[in-house]
């Protein structure tokens, strides 16, 4: 069977079969026109298949230190000094210093390197020229010759020096101490040689495939794909992450909330955001001087300033309930209830206004109603507070309804929202009794967070609306839940959209 090789493998193996000795990767690259990385990749697979041997070889390369060219052109300090030193006559150290100065070099360098070469000797305060010094005059040492070669031809491997008539060992030894003049660097070379297996393959029947990075339509329509090979990739490398367009993270929580209540058989309701105080407060048995109704907390409207009250019989029943309890069995609040205050328009402070409207519209059990909607409180905008936020309110109108059922339903809701642990704490609200604050356990923070209020509507709320069975009610905030889920420290992130944040938040979080 014919052997399949890609075009790069073929090029490398053919070159090796023609090349004398063992060329390096660089040599092969140069001669095949491939780049070094491609040759290295081919060598790697060919070696694994036993077609070639790869030998590593280390060579020391000599190059000039930066800025040393001028020094070498002038001659090394000790050489220049030697050339000027009068033969056969010692120099006083003073004269020696003078000569060095004249040459523009430092005497200590002359003495250090000249001494190492054995050219000079200090004796009796004078500098003597030795026999070696005399012999060296006019005759460059091996290292000097090596430097000359590098200065002329550029970097050279030390093992090439012998071939140029320079003693490699002597030059290396002398240069080892002169980092300011020359540097040697060890470089690793891989040389490639065909193995007998490789030779055999080359001499056999071959199919050479072109190596490409991308299939073309033409390759497929013409069947040309059979003659190409697709380059392998490093499949572990990271790529740029694709970002799908996504719904708003908070909208996902609102949807999850709606779905949870729809799954539990609830009917979705709406009511106006611009609401009469009657439905926002009075129908909920909140006395007209209750602090929650203060201008401090509630947005009142200048336009429209007042709205229409419902049927007068209902208004009358609510009025009497506030004043003395009416026929609800309550003491009432004991004050004069004002229709004018009930007519004032507010931005609804809770979606309990929605559920109480739903209760009034149809108080007949069994009914389950919920509403997800924006509510408003007169707050300054900070990282913690906004003048509006989102609540889910719900009610259950049921002959069987009771407080224990309320707790069970809320537990079930939060289980659907992903919270396994829910706890309730007694609380006091004007329109429910008993009342419970709802907390969920945040495992990530190891803490309970409070998410809202709940309770059984007081008869003062339900009876005037024509309802005689217990009504379970709750109003739960959703922004806090979102902030916990998305790890936000600033509530404004939800309503002042940063595109990067939208991109980052995973759909499944």
């Amino acid at each position: 069977m014919a052997m399949e090789l890609n075009e790069q493998e073929h090029a490398v193996l053919s070159l090796l079969s023609r090349h004398a000795g063992s060329p390096t990767v660089g040599d092969v690259a140069q001669k095949t026109g491939l780049d070094q990385a491609q040759v290295a990749a081919v060598a790697h697979t060919a070696k694994q298949r036993g077609w070639i041997d790869v030998t590593e070889k280390k060579r020391s390369e000599l190059s000039l230190a930066p800025g040393a060219g001028e020094l070498i052109a002038q001659g090394l300090p000790e050489r220049r000094f030697l050339d000027r030193m009068p033969p056969g006559q010692p120099l006083s150290m003073r004269d020696a210093a003078g000569l060095a100065r004249e040459l523009g070099t430092a005497l200590n360098e002359v003495l250090r390197y000249g001494g190492q070469r054995g050219w000079f000797r200090k004796a009796g305060g004078e500098l003597h020229l030795t026999d070696e010094g005399k012999a060296a005059a006019g005759k460059p040492a091996p290292d000097e010759r090596a430097l000359q070669i590098v200065a002329e031809r550029g970097p050279i491997f030390l093992d090439e020096l012998e071939g140029l008539g320079v003693s490699e060992g002597a030059a290396a030894k002398l240069l080892a101490k002169r980092g300011n003049v020359a540097k040697t660097k060890v470089r690793t070379f891989r040389t490639l040689a065909l193995t007998p297996v490789g030779r055999e393959i080359l001499s056999g029947e071959l199919i050479v495939k072109r190596l490409r990075s991308q299939l073309t339509s033409e390759d497929l329509t013409t069947g040309g794909w059979r003659r190409i090979e697709l380059k392998p990739y490093d499949v572990t490398l990271a790529a740029e992450t694709a970002v799908p367009v996504k719904s708003h993270p908070f909208q996902r929580i609102l949807e999850q909330t709606r779905r949870a209540f729809l799954e539990m058989g609830f009917t979705e309701m709406v009511s106006p955001m611009v609401e009469t105080a009657f439905w926002d407060f009075d129908a909920l048995f909140q006395p007209q001087d209750h602090p929650a109704r203060d201008m401090q907390d509630t947005f009142y409207l200048a336009r429209p300033a007042t709205g229409r009250l419902p049927a007068s019989e209902l208004v009358e029943r609510v009025k009497r309930t506030h004043e003395d309890g009416g026929d609800t069995g309550s003491l009432g609040w004991g004050y004069r209830w004002s229709e004018d205050r009930a007519r004032r328009m507010v931005l609804r402070t809770h979606t309990t206004a929605t559920t109480v409207r739903a209760l009034a519209a149809d108080p007949n059990p069994p009914r389950k109603v919920f509403c997800v909607g924006r509510v408003f409180r007169n707050e300054t905008i900070t990282y913690k507070h906004l003048p509006e936020f989102t609540q889910v309110d719900g009610i259950i109108i049921d002959k069987k309804a009771n407080f224990a059922m309320l707790l069970a339903v809320l537990k079930e809701f939060y289980r659907k929202m992903g919270f396994q642990r829910v706890k309730f704490k007694p609380a006091f609200f004007p329109y429910t009794e008993p009342s419970a604050e709802v907390f969920v356990w945040m495992d990530s923070k190891k803490t309970w967070i409070e998410l809202g209020g709940s309770g059984v509507f007081r008869p003062e709320v339900t009876k005037p609306l024509g309802c005689d069975v217990p009504v379970l009610a709750w109003g739960l905030g959703l922004e806090r839940l979102a902030m916990q889920r998305y790890g936000l420290g600033d509530i404004r992130t939800l309503y002042w959209t940063d595109l990067d944040w939208l991109r980052e938040v995973p759909l499944c979080q």
Binding site: F299, P366, N402, F403, T497
Partner: protein, 601 residues
Amino acid sequence: MPVVAIGVERLNRFLGVSRPMAELVEALENLGCDVEDTAEVVHYRCAVCGMTTEKLAHEAPPKRCDQCCHQCDAALSEGSRQDVIRLDLLADRPDLFDTGGICRALKGVLGIEEGLPHYEAHPGTIVVHIDSALEHAESYRPHIVCAEVEMPPLDEEMLRELMRLQESLHWGVGRDRKLCSIGVYDLAAIEPPIKYTTIRPDGGTFVPLAYGTKALTARAILEEHPKGAGYAHLLSGLSAYPLLVDSRGQVLSMPPIINSEETRLKKGSTRLFVDVTGIVEDAPKNALHTLVCSMVEMGGLVKTVEVVQSDGRSSSWPDLKPRRQPIDLRDARRWLGLDSSNGELRRLFRKMRLSVEGEGDKVEVSYPAFRTDIRHPVDLYADLAIGVGYAKMPSAQLPTPTQSSQRPEELLANRVRQILLGMGCWEIMSLIQTTNDHHFDALRIEPKGEFILISNPKNSEVNIVRCHLMTGLLETFQKNRRKSAPQSFFEVGNVVLLEPGAETGTREERRVAFATMGPEAGFATVRSQTDGLLHELGVSGQYRAEEHPSFVSGRCAKMEVPGSAGVEIRGRLGEIHPAVLERFSIPYPVALAEITLCRVL
């Protein structure tokens, strides 16, 4: 909401036990108290009045005395330290404002003492006469109730607690002294009978509490004294102010502003006089009963005070006899979902410091005068639930099954969302409130008063309710203007429009707005998106040219989906005017559409 610090050591002393802080915290939470946190506090002593001011251990020492408002140059000197539990006060339960009251309730849930606590008002001799002037509009504050209380000699701790309870009641029952205000005096400095009368702004002088020794007129007190200036608004519009004086003419106080220096409580005071005045009938009684019962918890003995109206009618206060409420225990079980026996329910009532008379299901529950939160049998049922403990409520039946149904606009909104996400638009959510400036001026719109206007915003960040969705999108481009373009966003949400004659004077519409910002963004962009949206919704629109100040002239269209009864889809699309883009610092053209999907309300 005010926070009150309850000393753990003192609480345990009152309870007569030694319970660790954590157990007390849990018991308080199970009672419904809002435990803010636990902390260590330091009491700093004032060199002038000798009283102490409380600060958290990590806070800087105070430079001003809370009691006499004395301003020190140096910090007040440091006194004792103690562990405290800090509670957010519950406006509905003034009987849980102070150590005595909390202790009374805790004793029940901790099993230390059960049943109705006994409070009695012994007959006293003090009489208070009300001047008919208090009923006139010009000096209106007609209601007053009083009590005499014999206390063990007051120590500093009791003084501090009394003052704090008084302040808490001013907040919780008095609505910051508006409905009622309390005065507590050293009876040793008073010669009964006492007269509740009025004083003209310049009609006399007295030395107000903690303000040196100078006698001031009522007018001067309201202008100069820190408490006077702080509460002057409660007397604004009156031409004579309420005043309590004794038989010698010694002023006790000028309610609801300030007591006199001469009658102030001191360490060692033993006979105390208490008054609560108010503009409504119930609040003063509630405050008085709560206060004197807490004083009994501190070791006090209460005596009645006779209050004589100007017409001669008289009544005696305080009235501490228990209130009674008949209930049916079967109703209680049904309301709560409990299956406890009658005996068990009776035990729970006793645990909640109530008592039950009668046998069988129909019983009568007695509760103390200060339980002003009880106005219906359900309030007593709630006590049973607290007695059981919410964590121990039995598992419950499920509600009767019902069919779910969702709102049509939500179904439609979710389809629209899916379509626009598919077109590569990112969803945003923005506030429904905005400002005139951002909603109209910046968009070159002259609204002619046709929008919802808020009368009392806390600041200028919001003052109207939105009637279109363009502001949110343009603000989003502004915020993201330095990120790479093109960018596309959309928002689905409600707008509110005036509709005279409607119940709320408004109507709400569900709308969608979408926009693209980028070098290539133009009419064609938004037209093709609009067509695509309508196609996916199964309708097609008709377009005609329109001029709108927010859009480039000649590049704005009105769109309507005709002939589809019940479908209210219509809208506007075009290229945003460069003057608008400049106002929002948007660096590229923006093509925007806003479409009404349906009417919601």
